[in-house]
Assembly symmetry: C2
Homo-oligomer: 481 residues x 2
């Protein structure tokens, strides 16, 4: 057990989101600052969330036939430069190794900001014929992007953890067909585990990943009205396979370049999740990802201490067979102090059990998300705790979805767009003709940007608020984190 | 599926161990070289072994109450220098980041060769009182040690993956008591999963980890007669807690420094495992860690093709409910070619199933480790495959243990030590008085070194071969990788 937090929350979510967010992360002991500016420490409760996300996502990857691998963290400078757009996108943020021991290296080595260039140089040697395709590889690793903007735990850090998926196909059709599978996995993990909703759509050209032909993303909404990008999937076409000479003999005996995609989900997503669910009493963590799902607090007085503790221990042990349980019998803290601590840390369900409960054959369940309290019979305690955890999981997603709907508005003119953005923030649906200059104008006029063009919207009516031409689609617009 | 290996093994294990080992790793597609000298790529089958080791080890860590965390990969130079012996041990091998984007950094950042200094700077702020102890943290991450010796996949690479455990206790007694628990976990994982035996003991002072008071290791024997160090556990005493000011208020209200240990198991261990079990036909991977445990090869002729394939598919699907199965129905390869490929890759059990087997209601099981073949009834196929996998797992450990015993010899004089070492290599038990100068003399005279002083040997008789004084213990001596 790490030490109890001696101080509770001070900032309010609605009044000062930035301070509130940082307090939640630090006081709930999910992450901490480090001596390296912009790099954070994931503490046990924070890392446990990442382990939960990894486990859920990785199981889906494995079902899809994707294999995990590990490639070196270093990328020689000459390789990073092989795909022109890609290096332009990343060069300003690359951390460079130039010395080893007492020697200067002959060539600078980039700490991977992403592994395309290194991986493809190697993978090109593994592929000979169409029989070697598809090849779908993934890495769970650390990457470094030396950003100079203000760092925030989880949301913007110079080093972060992620999955980077890289797949190669024999045809464009097969490559494209991967999109819905991967984004479906990300949608499932974000919705069903992290309990956060989002809009899935295609990024505009100007927001497309460096070196990719198309980028699709899930866009979330933070409580301060800013949008933030979640997991993404990129269609690279043959850009990299041409730069790295990834060729194969096709079924007719000809030579062709592979079609490639990449996709990622990062530890940033943990920050989004915590920002959305947490409240002024501290962290709220969805039950499926909480390091501790149930805290059992025995409430004792001097006469009944031994008997209550013995029974409580038995009950907690039974719960521990089904859930991640912490039995809090620390005797130097009052129950109230314990309640505050576990609320701050975001444990989804608290079980209270005292002398009177023992007499009545009951226990009290308290929900972290809404403070709801109810008494349950001991015989059905494990089942009731299970139900409570499911209810909390569902209700967090429900509430976040309602919040997102409520904060998604429509605009048809630039003036409307500007007004909604400055008054409410949030997500704004706006018709868009698809032209880069109209996108640039909207951005310039409002300070927001096109987040993505949501999928599955069919053919909508409307006119581009800039050029007044008929808009092929509705774009999702907002201020982005 | 990655491409079939078009070339089999050429080198022989007994004739040219180094070439043979590299061929096994590369041709079985377990790992590959990378464009960064000394850094390797873990291919899917190789990484799957690491995932298996991680899963087994991590489950034991969690049972022991150890929490996973993630700390930054960068260590500011001033921090790395805070513990004098520690920095001396690592400085010659540190990779330094000196630039980010287009800027020079004000202070060089080390890529972690190990995380003591960074972690303890942070952890010192998490600990206030004895109630915060013990604190037992672990990381599964990548580290970099820029060695200039000849790199070998898994066995010696500049970047490698590992677990680094770091624990803090209120008393020396509690800290010391952790030793057997952690080494017990490593012993279990190496013996029961990797099927490799080793000698557990305490390193001499000259071989102790930089900054530690004592180092304990498991020492393995490679087939070329060289010893190689496996997982280790270090008692750091209060060295780091004094350098990093990790203090706590003890139960009496006084201030004390924490007692610390660290422990690690690395991807090197995969190389040791493969070197010990594999043979001249390629890799041999213990069933518990094999990416594919069972390859099912239907054997078809023109008349019976559809019927055999349909039945084979059904059988393989049933097996897949219990084991990691690959159903090899590729029709451009002959069965013989497939057998060779899967033997090269080290899949523990092959199931052959042809028209005649179908008629007889049977299948043929072939063991990778010894080529043993037997026919089993289809009704009991899953059970028989399960038994076969267990038998192989046990027999690999059995054989490796016999090999280790056979190659462990006794010496009582320097001349004997020298002779055994040059004639046989292997492990040599030799009495040792405990003095550093006698250790140095043995090393100088023979080219070998003291690997460790095995635990649990009681008080042995014997005299140090150098000084002729009574030896307190028997040391394990050998040429080390």
């Amino acid at each position: 057990m790490s030490k109890p937090s001696h101080e509770g929350m001070a900032a309010k979510k609605k009044e000062n989101f930035d301070d509130w967010y940082t307090q939640v992360i630090l006081k709930a002991e999910l992450a901490d600052y480090s001596p390296v500016s912009g790099c954070m420490v994931l503490r046990p409760s924070g890392y446990a969330i990442w382990e939960g996300i990894q486990t859920a996502t990785d199981a889906e990857f494995k079902k899809a036939g994707i294999s995990n691998t590990y490639f070196p963290i270093f990328i020689p400078e000459r390789l990073l430069k092989k795909e022109a757009e890609h290096v332009q996108g990343f060069a300003p943020e690359v951390a460079w190794v130039t010395q080893a021991g007492n020697s200067d290296l002959e060539e600078r080595l980039a700490i991977r900001p992403t592994s395309e260039t290194l991986m493809y140089e190697v993978v090109s040697k593994w592929i000979r014929s169409w029989r070697d395709l598809p090849m779908r590889l993934n890495q769970w690793n650390n990457v470094v992007r030396w950003e100079f903007r203000h760092p925030t735990p989880f949301l913007r850090t110079r080093e972060f953890l992620w999955n980077e998926g890289h797949s190669l196909f024999a045809t464009r059709e097969e490559a494209d067909a991967e999109r819905d599978e991967i984004l479906g996995i990300y949608k499932k993990v974000t919705e069903q585990f992290m309990a956060i909703p989002g809009y899935l759509g295609r990024k505009s050209k100007s927001e497309t990943f460096a070196g990719a032909e198309a980028t699709y993303s899930i866009e979330h909404l933070l409580p301060d009205g800013k949008a933030i990008q979640g997991p993404d999937w990129h269609s690279d076409g043959q850009n990299f396979s041409k730069a790295f000479d990834i060729t194969f003999i096709d079924q007719k005996g000809g030579k062709d370049h592979a079609w490639q995609n990449t996709w990622a989900l990062t530890t940033r997503e943990i920050g989004v999740m915590l920002a959305i669910h947490s409240d002024d009493r501290g962290a709220v963590v969805p039950p499926k990802l909480a390091a501790v799902q149930v805290v059992f607090v025995p409430i004792v007085n001097d006469e009944s201490k031994e008997a209550v503790l013995a029974e409580a221990r038995k009950l907690a042990a039974e719960l521990a067979g089904r859930f991640r349980v912490f039995f809090d019998d620390r005797d130097h803290l009052t129950p109230g102090r314990k309640f505050n601590e576990w609320e701050l840390k975001g444990v989804p369900v608290r079980v209270e059990f005292g002398p009177r409960d023992m007499k009545e054959g009951q226990a009290v369940l308290v929900r972290r998300d809404n403070g709801g309290k109810r008494t349950v019979k001991l015989a059905s305690l494990p089942d009731e705790v299970g139900k409570e955890l499911e209810t909390i999981q569902d209700s967090l997603f429900q509430r976040a979805s309602e919040e997102l709907s409520k904060n998604t508005r429509d605009a048809t003119t630039l003036a409307e767009l500007k007004e909604i953005l400055s008054q409410h923030g949030g997500m704004i649906r706006v018709p868009w003709c698809g032209k880069a200059e109209c996108e640039a104008k909207m951005k310039e006029e409002t300070g927001g940007k096109i987040l993505n063009v949501p999928l599955g919207q069919g053919r909508r009516k409307g006119r581009c608020p800039v050029c007044s031409e008929e808009a092929g689609s509705i774009a999702l617009f907002g201020k982005s984190y």
